[in-house]
């Protein structure tokens, strides 16, 4: 039987504020347990939450960037449930008046753009962290409340995705938008960005959605994709046997690459949402909305299109560049100084990214500056150094932050274009490689390439290859 897979995603992103949503405790990651907590995030009796303005504005900014409708009135609701990671026994979230509703995000799969609708975007508080000891027979869990109260943005998509490649693009695009708008650092390894997938299958051509299964505990984008593939197969087997898929929540087991039932939807929780009396509503006027809108930069997909059109870059190159906002900014700075987009694009997407990877550099704190890369491209064009030598210069620049001219002088890398000098070396190479000359005269064209290589080796790559080529051809009599 052929089925259509229907996928929706819920995304949680920790917002990039310095302090928590309702108190002044730090949100810094990776500190000693329970050292960033206070009576408010521990839910001591009598404490009151006060909303972090930055967190609210970040959530609003994300809702606008995701094309949501923003209501003039918004407030917060209590979501009640008991779990040891939740000190108040309720989570302050939004249910009746979300930050934004009915938005959309365009994604690109192999150059085809499709629109994924966003059901809602809302702001809530993060729960604490539970640790389950690995020792055998341990009958306890440990709780760290440092994370409790960190502002969390939840983005709920409509079940508009049908294929794994769409899901991948959705996650990547959303991550980029959150990074471009600077509302979250999106560090998945620190849990700043998390996804939950809901999946159902239906027979091709049927309108009604099948029973939906939610998958949690997805620690990476790769897990999301694997879990969806696994779940698709599992549901297909169930349906093929003529049975129905249970509506349930399943936990993904990353090690064994399968999922297991967490709880059935029948016994699903009753959250008893009601308006949070400890917080006052927030009214959003036109002026405020416009001020936030003005802080939203050009978003990735639009920027990519502009790069393709303005700088005549390929879809692939433009995609690589916009992948990290900081790289796209670097590129634009370079082009402003010297109009050689293709050349800068190559340097950034090849050499720069390779050096970053090999030397484990932090792209947010690169020592090389756009005007230095522009200067490098300029001296290559002038013929001061060859493009081979330029790679060496670049590597030095990215490690030390030195100007290209300084590197060239210090390492004595100026290109040799002196014909007299090159001729001397050519004569030397010819006399020590008579076999190659013979081969060439017999018609083996690549013997010439070999000789050029020898001259370059002799000059440590500094000879101007164009001149070497021309002079060698003359010498061997073409």
């Amino acid at each position: 039987m052929t089925y259509e897979v229907v996928i929706g995603l819920e995304t949680h992103a920790e917002l990039a504020t310095i302090t928590k949503l309702f108190c002044g405790c730090s949100t810094k990651f990776g500190v000693e347990p329970n050292t960033q907590v206070c009576p408010v995030c521990l839910a001591m009796p009598g404490v009151l939450p006060v909303m972090n303005k930055k967190a609210f504005e970040y959530a609003l900014k994300a809702a606008i960037a995701l094309n949501c409708k923003i209501d003039e009135f918004t407030n917060f609701d209590r979501k009640s449930y008991y779990y040891p990671d939740l000190p108040k026994n309720y989570q302050i979230s939004q249910n009746y008046h979300n930050m934004g509703i009915d938005g959309y995000m365009d994604i690109s799969v192999n150059g085809t753009i499709s629109r994924i609708r966003i059901h809602n975007v809302h702001l809530e508080e993060e729960a604490g962290k539970l640790i389950h000891p690995e020792e055998v027979g341990a009958d306890y869990s440990l709780v760290d409340f440092n994370r409790a109260g960190v502002p969390l943005l939840e983005i709920v998509s409509y079940p508009d995705m049908r294929r794994v490649d769409e899901v991948e693009s959705y996650m990547q695009t959303l991550r980029k938008i959150l990074l471009y708008t600077e509302v979250s650092d999106c560090k998945m390894q620190e849990g700043s960005l998390r996804f939950e997938a809901s999946i159902s299958l239906r027979k091709k051509g049927v309108d009604r959605l099948g029973n939906r299964v939610e998958i949690k505990n997805l620690n990476s984008m790769k897990s999301v994709l694997k879990a969806i593939e696994y779940e698709t197969m599992r549901q297909r087997d169930v349906l093929d046997r003529g049975e129905t898929v249970d509506r349930e929540t399943r936990l993904w087991d990353e090690v064994n690459e399968k999922s297991a039932r967490m709880r059935s939807k029948e016994e699903s929780q009753d959250y008893r949402y009601f308006p949070e009396p400890d917080l006052l509503p927030v009214l959003i006027d036109e002026k405020w909305l416009r001020a936030i809108k003005d802080t939203i930069p050009e978003l990735p997909l639009i920027r990519r299109q502009r790069f393709i059109e303005t700088f005549a870059l390929s879809d692939y190159d433009a995609s690589l560049l916009i992948d990290e906002k900081i790289l796209a900014d670097f590129f634009e700075e370079c082009v402003k100084i010297l109009n050689r987009p293709k050349s800068f694009c190559n340097w950034i997407t090849n050499d720069l990214l390779r050096e970053v990877k090999d030397r484990k550099l932090d792209i947010y704190h690169l020592k090389i500056k756009p005007k230095q890369l522009a200067a490098l491209v300029e001296i290559i064009e002038k013929g001061t150094i060859s493009s081979t030598i330029a790679k060496e210069v670049f590597s030095e620049m990215i490690q030390t932050g030195k100007d290209p001219k300084t590197v060239v002088e210090e390492k004595k890398l100026v290109q040799i274009s002196d014909e007299g000098l090159i001729e001397e070396i050519i004569i030397k190479i010819i006399s020590s490689n008579p076999d190659a000359i013979e081969d060439y005269k017999k018609g083996k064209k690549n013997a010439l390439t070999f000789l050029v290589g020898q001259v370059m080796k002799e000059t440590k790559g500094k000879a101007n290859p164009k001149i070497v080529n021309e002079m060698l051809m003359k010498k061997v009599g073409v």
Binding site: T19, C38, K53, Y140, S141, V143, L279
Partner: protein, 95 residues
Amino acid sequence: MKIDKDQVENIAKLSRIRLTELEREMFVHQLNNILFYIEKLNKLDTENVAPMAYTSDVSNVFREDKLKPSIPLQDVLINAPATKSGFFKVPKVIE
């Protein structure tokens, strides 16, 4: 709408409290009285009245994103029935 014993039991379960048979009957009675009163209120025409969740006119109360000191670990854990290496220790929870 009428509240029965099962519903009271469900509410007790959601609230993590244990009720005796006597208490269950008492709450069935009390909750039904409350609902009876609410039903009276329901007779009012509220067609054009927006639901009210807040009694004050104040809105948009914020704090700036500025650090305030947290409290010392020993104070954090002072009321905890059980602790371990700076963590709260709780009965095992597995999902």
